[in-house]
Amino acid sequence: MTTTPSTTSKAAPDEQFDDLTQQRQADLMGMWIFLATELMLFGGIFTAFTVYRFAYPEVFAEAATHLDLKLGTFNTALLVTSSLFMALAERAVNAGQRRKTLAFLFVTIGIGVVFLGIKGYEWHHEYTEKLMPILGLAFEYPGAHPDRAEMFFNFYYVLTGLHAVHMSLGLVTLSVMVVFTWRWRDPSRLGRQIQINGLYWAFVDVVWVFIFTTQYLLRA
């Protein structure tokens, strides 16, 4: 059968589904399973971190004091706030409010960009402090046992870096959502898509809370 492109704005499920409810449930379930895989991804690295955290408790606690707690806390607050706006965007799109949806999406993206900016500033600061043991850069750690401290910073960059990659992907898909919202073609499909993006964004937020706790807060 040749498929005719759907030009009608009437809500119809994709051809493999019987109805919209089935499609919505399937989409959400797919996203939840995807988040489970993400959890296992970060879980693997957090497990490795935990092993070393118990092996070298003093050095890791001491090394954590070299991170900027104020900026970290501020970033955490930012990210939680952005999740609030993401939730508002979900509500707005389900209520059929195009302009509000757009506005909330813009705020979410804006906060996300600021978060990454601050993260970048932190990295730069650590670079100038010579606390970035990457690509053979000089690592001049002022405290005791620089080798074990280097291990801490290795984890710090892996975790925050991986998180930043996830944030950036989230920002890209949210920007796509902005375009879709602008066009406002199939609100029912858009509602599903934004809900799925919201799940992802919330996950990225939760991961950050874990990173913040293990890297910034567990300090001497």
């Binding site: 046992h145 080798d147 074990r148």
Partner: protein
Amino acid sequence: MNDEVAPYLPEVEKGLHLIPTQATEHAGQLDHLYFALVGASAIILLMVVGLIAFFGFRYRAGNKAADRSNLPSTRTENRVEIAVLAAMLVAFMGFFAWATTLYLDSYRGPEPAMTIDVIGKQWMWKIQHPDGTREINAIHVPVDEVIRLRVTSQDVIHSFFVPAFRLKRDVVPGTEKTAWFKATEPGEYRLFCAEYCGSFHSRMLGKVVVMDRGDYQAWLTRQGSGQTLASAGKQLFQAHGCSGCHMGKSNARAPSLDGLYGRSVALDSGEVILADEAYIRDSILQPDKHIAAGYEPIMPSFAGQLSEEDILRIVTYIKSLQPGDWVKESVKENEGESR
């Protein structure tokens, strides 16, 4: 080809032995378990194959005469399954207990007569005897003595494998493992590297030479090493400045080490730890890991500065110290000065 690679396959244990030579008591015990496992699986395999053949013949589609009525009910099926499950569980737990007992025995050895160090390196085995004798790709040991091995690696992971002893231990850089054996038959046995370690993995070979007590002593004398491990360790201890702090010759305060081995040490964290080899080794390489109560964490790490052989020598030296040794030594020195 790398010239450090053993250029030969040791000419030992010629001939194909499907059950390798049994050169330790453990080897014989393990073979019993192996035979039991082979027997059990052969019985079950014969049952499976036999049933398939029997059913295949009896219930072939062409055989219209076969009685196919009265198929088992779901209840019956469940009961049969549970019966099979229970039978297998019992058999499996039996094997589990047997194999685990042997395994634990093979790790927790009796009191050793001597300790030999084995260091794996791409692509050779370096051996140190307690009297300082060193050899490469060969280990000479006396028969009927409990030999303890300290194994470690200088680069990648290797694995110390002597089939005739049914003994295998991974050799991991940065850690020290132990193994033991008591060879019961004089002879020469193969030593393989069992963990893939790079280009010439298959040529990282050696032999274990088990000798009569007298032959072993004669062999040792022929080697005529100058210095025991402990005395080499003592020299290193002084050369690396350890004695400065630990023997109280400088201002820095560090715990005295004589009589340390085997003692319980109170730590800064409030814990108490047994001063075994692993503890001494950790304290050299990761001094911050366990800080003795009442001392500052000022000791630098010696990781990367000492070769694996040197670490083993220093550990041997510290182990050899009896309580009060250092006091006697300093008295002697003082006497020397005052004369």
